[in-house]
């Protein structure tokens, strides 16, 4: 394997590991704010119990996200020096704004949010929670702006092979940005909804029927059931946008080889790039045309359009994009089914008497958001190949000349560390749930303390 492929795998591994944690913190920040505000409004301590449990998950996820994010910023230099050298004039300011408007905000107020409850007034603590949630969202915004610009670059000119910004409004509000941003925010919301529902279900199965667990389960199910239709809608719009700007990606997602009307929706197949056809195809006639163009006879682009006369393949590898897309959609369908079933059961039984079987199902789906997010990420990022910046910079022109052996060595190192950490992360969340169930975490219900105690003791009627 050469440096290019190894560097791609390494960056792919890094970003896959990294994205797991922002996916949780982006939405969990807002959920925590919701818990805190509910507590302030009602004085019902179940909301504070829920806050105290989930803030630990937040802190852990945040730390994992920060350290893996630092890795990414260094890898631009160590593995992809051509990236900043070519598009630095656009990427630079966007990254700088992320660091300045988001990173510091999150990092500083996180300290106050985690450890400051007894040192500041309650409203300051709520404000800190808000600023952390706001910071993670800002961070998402800037990163998605940059990522979207790499897919649909606008507002620049090339001078001597280097990109120069000409219109910052066009750069920031590039054509795919709104769709990507909404899609990512909803993905985070769904990931958190199913994580909260799943962990709460686990605690209930372990016999913890505390008010906070029931409240969290309810919040998780309702959020999941509410967000999933929005996500399907946003995904559909995003797909139409991709069809307009990156037709090769859509062709790979659909597994469609020849451009034409009346294209079927391929449910399953094994794309064969050598034979340039699908094997074992199961398809529904006309449906791809109908979905993508809203007309049965609509013309959908095919992969064969993206092979140059010299035979050079200018479309992404088909199989990974094709399968990743199906995994994402499949997970989404499962989310839809389970959350709506959960909603119905919630109405029928209430959170406290939820039958065991759906509780097991929610447990099993705790990390389904991760699967969907990763699959979606692979669809869009592998789908961009062979370009790093669509039409501007190809991936092979950005890679560093570090020896392949060195990249392989560090890749193995990262993979080992990441595997251990994922294992530890899920283990610790399970342990936190167990600890909360056995009451260890609640043995001393001594919050809120300090100055805050005066206020909330009155609220709590103590």
């Amino acid at each position: 394997m050469d440096t290019l492929l190894l560097s791609r795998i390494q960056f792919g591994a890094n970003i896959s590991f990294h994205i797991l944690f922002p996916t949780i913190t982006i939405a969990l920040g807002w959920v925590l704010l919701f818990f805190k505000v509910r507590f302030a409004m009602t004085g019902d301590r179940k909301w504070m119990d829920a806050y105290m449990f989930w803030v630990k998950v937040f802190a852990l996820s945040f730390a994992m996200g920060v350290v893996s994010g630092i890795t990414m910023s260094f890898q631009f230099g160590t593995n992809w020096p051509g990236f900043m050298e070519t598009v630095g004039n656009v990427a630079g300011p966007l990254l700088a704004y992320e660091i300045m408007t988001a990173f510091f905000l999150e990092a500083v107020f996180l300290g106050i949010m985690l450890f400051g409850a007894s040192r500041v007034k309650s409203w300051v603590h709520t404000l800190a929670t808000f600023l952390v949630a706001f910071g993670t969202t800002m961070s998402t915004f800037w990163i998605i702006v940059l990522n979207s610009w790499m897919h649909t670059p606008q507002g620049y000119e090339l001078i001597d092979g280097v990109v120069h910004a000409t219109d910052w409004f066009a750069i920031i509000f590039n054509p795919s940005m709104p769709y990507r941003f909404v899609h990512m925010m909803l993905a985070s919301g769904l990931t958190v909804a199913f994580l909260i529902a799943g962990v709460s279900a686990l605690r209930m199965l372990w016999g913890d029927r505390g008010e906070d667990v029931k409240a969290a389960l309810r919040v998780g199910i309702i959020a999941g059931a509410g967000l999933i239709p929005l996500q399907i809608l946003a995904g559909d719009f995003h797909g139409l946008n991709t069809l307009e700007y990156q037709p090769a990606k859509v062709a790979a997602m659909e597994g469609n080889w020849d451009t034409g009307p009346n294209i079927p929706l391929v449910l399953f197949a094994i794309p064969d790039e050598d034979a340039r056809e699908n094997r074992y195809e199961i398809a529904i006639p006309n449906l791809a045309s109908l979905i993508l163009t809203h007309k049965a006879e609509g013309v959908v682009p095919g992969l064969n359009d993206f092979v140059s006369e010299a035979g050079e393949v200018l479309h992404p590898r088909v199989a990974p994009v094709f399968f990743a897309f199906r995994i994402m959609v499949g997970t989404g369908v499962a989310n839809l089914a389970l959350s709506w079933l959960g909603l119905a059961l919630l109405r029928k039984y209430g959170a406290g008497n939820m039958p065991k079987l759906p509780l097991y199902a929610f447990c099993a789906m705790s990390f389904s958001g991760w699967i969907a997010t990763l699959a979606g990420w692979y669809t869009t990022e592998i789908g961009r190949q062979p370009w790093l910046v669509q039409g501007v910079l190809s991936t092979k022109d950005a890679v560093s000349d570090v020896p392949a052996g060195m990249v392989l060595g560090t890749l193995i190192g990262y993979l080992i560390v990441y595997a251990i950490l994922i294992f530890a992360y899920i283990g610790v969340i399970t342990y936190l749930a167990r600890k909360a169930t056995t009451g260890e975490a609640y043995s001393v219900r001594n919050y809120p303390r300090g100055r805050e105690a005066n206020v909330s003791a009155i609220q709590l009627g103590e």
């Binding site: 893996s68 630092i70 300011p93 660091i99 990092a107 300290g111 985690l114 450890f115 190192g413 975490a441």
Partner: protein, 336 residues
């Protein structure tokens, strides 16, 4: 300095200054919390918790200054960013693994089952050690011009050791300020043990740098600049004497002067750093690329600068607010 009217001159200069400032803030702030991590094995089991508590609310924000420094290198001097980081591929990898281990074990040790706590404490120390050593190594390689020869690697290994001990010194100085009782007395002892690393490091770099480069030699040892620069080493010597004298008489009643070793350590790091910055200016990659050659397009830098003018003061303000909120001696960290 009429040529400062040209944006292609003052913008790169401004960004070099901002990057330098960010790096300095990083070295001092993450220096002390890396240092506390390095001291972990020397502390008792219950003291370990206090050590972690003393940096708990801060470490995350401290580390962000590294992201800003690298970010500014990346956005303002893209070619230099590529050259420096590909040359330092392996030490960067070790630093990143170190920072990952450290940041994660920080959270894990408090949340994982008690039986695992020892392991995560170990990971916290190991991560701090990896990050400190690799940063010192990179510093040495940078001074030597980013070329991998045995002599250069040897020198870098020395700076790695010295910076690591130097970090443990500023970490101990932080603990003198933020702790009390038996732990504070221990911290004083640690600081006494660690200060030689900082001193040796400053001396090694001060001697080596001019000999690596005739240009830097001339910058320092020509008349009259030598006289302007003389206060730098003189104040450094005075600071070291002051710290030594303070460490001998601390702790005082009512905890007076307990903040002075940390302040002096900060001043020492700042002076040493200032000297280095003076040596290398205007080069961003030693002997190869000046910051003017490597700078991004002025219009892009200008876009960032506008934001910086508004945002950086805000960052400084709320960072100070956080240190103010968590002022006083470190208490147990509690989420509830």
């Amino acid at each position: 300095m009429a040529y400062f009217a040209d944006p292609a001159v003052w913008l790169p200069w401004t960004f070099a200054a901002l990057m330098g400032l960010s790096t300095l803030i990083y070295v001092v702030l993450d220096g002390f919390d890396l240092g506390v991590g390095l001291l972990m094995p020397l502390a008792d089991e219950d003291q370990k918790d206090r050590l972690v508590a003393s940096i708990g609310p801060f470490w995350d924000a401290n580390e962000t200054w590294l992201v800003l420094a690298v970010g500014l290198l990346l956005v303002a001097f893209p070619p230099a960013h590529g050259i420096i980081l590909t040359a330092l591929y392996l030490p960067v990898f070790i630093m990143l693994i170190g920072l990952i281990l450290r940041g994660v074990s920080f959270e894990m040790r408090a949340k994982a089952p008690l039986a695992q706590k020892r392991m995560w404490n170990g990971a916290f120390f190991a991560g701090s050690l990896m990050a400190s050593l690799s940063q010192g190594f990179m510093l040495g390689m940078y001074i030597m011009g980013l070329t991998w020869t045995w002599a250069h690697v040897g020198f870098a290994a020395l700076t790695a050791l010295f910076l690591t001990v130097g970090y443990s010194f500023i970490g101990a100085a932080w603990l003198i300020w933020k702790t009390e009782g038996a732990l504070q007395i221990r911290a004083i002892r640690w600081a006494k043990g660690g200060i030689w690393g900082l001193v040796a490091g400053i001396i090694a770099i001060s001697i080596a740098t001019p000999f690596v480069s005739a240009r830097i030699f001339d910058k320092w040892f020509s008349v009259p600049t030598a006289f302007y620069l003389a206060p730098l080493p003189i104040i450094s010597v005075l600071l070291v004497v002051f710290v030594w004298w303070q460490l001998a008489r601390l702790p005082l009643n009512h905890d007076r002067w307990s903040w002075t070793p940390f302040a002096a350590a900060t001043a020492l790091f700042t002076l040493a750093y200032g000297g280095m910055a003076y040596s290398f200016y205007p080069y961003v990659v030693p002997k190869k690329i000046t910051l003017y050659d490597a700078a991004s397009a002025p219009e892009s830098l200008f876009i960032i600068l506008i934001g910086t003018v508004f945002v950086l003061p805000a960052i400084v303000c709320y960072t100070l607010l956080s240190y103010y909120i968590f002022r006083g001696k470190a208490r147990d960290l509690r989420y509830d």
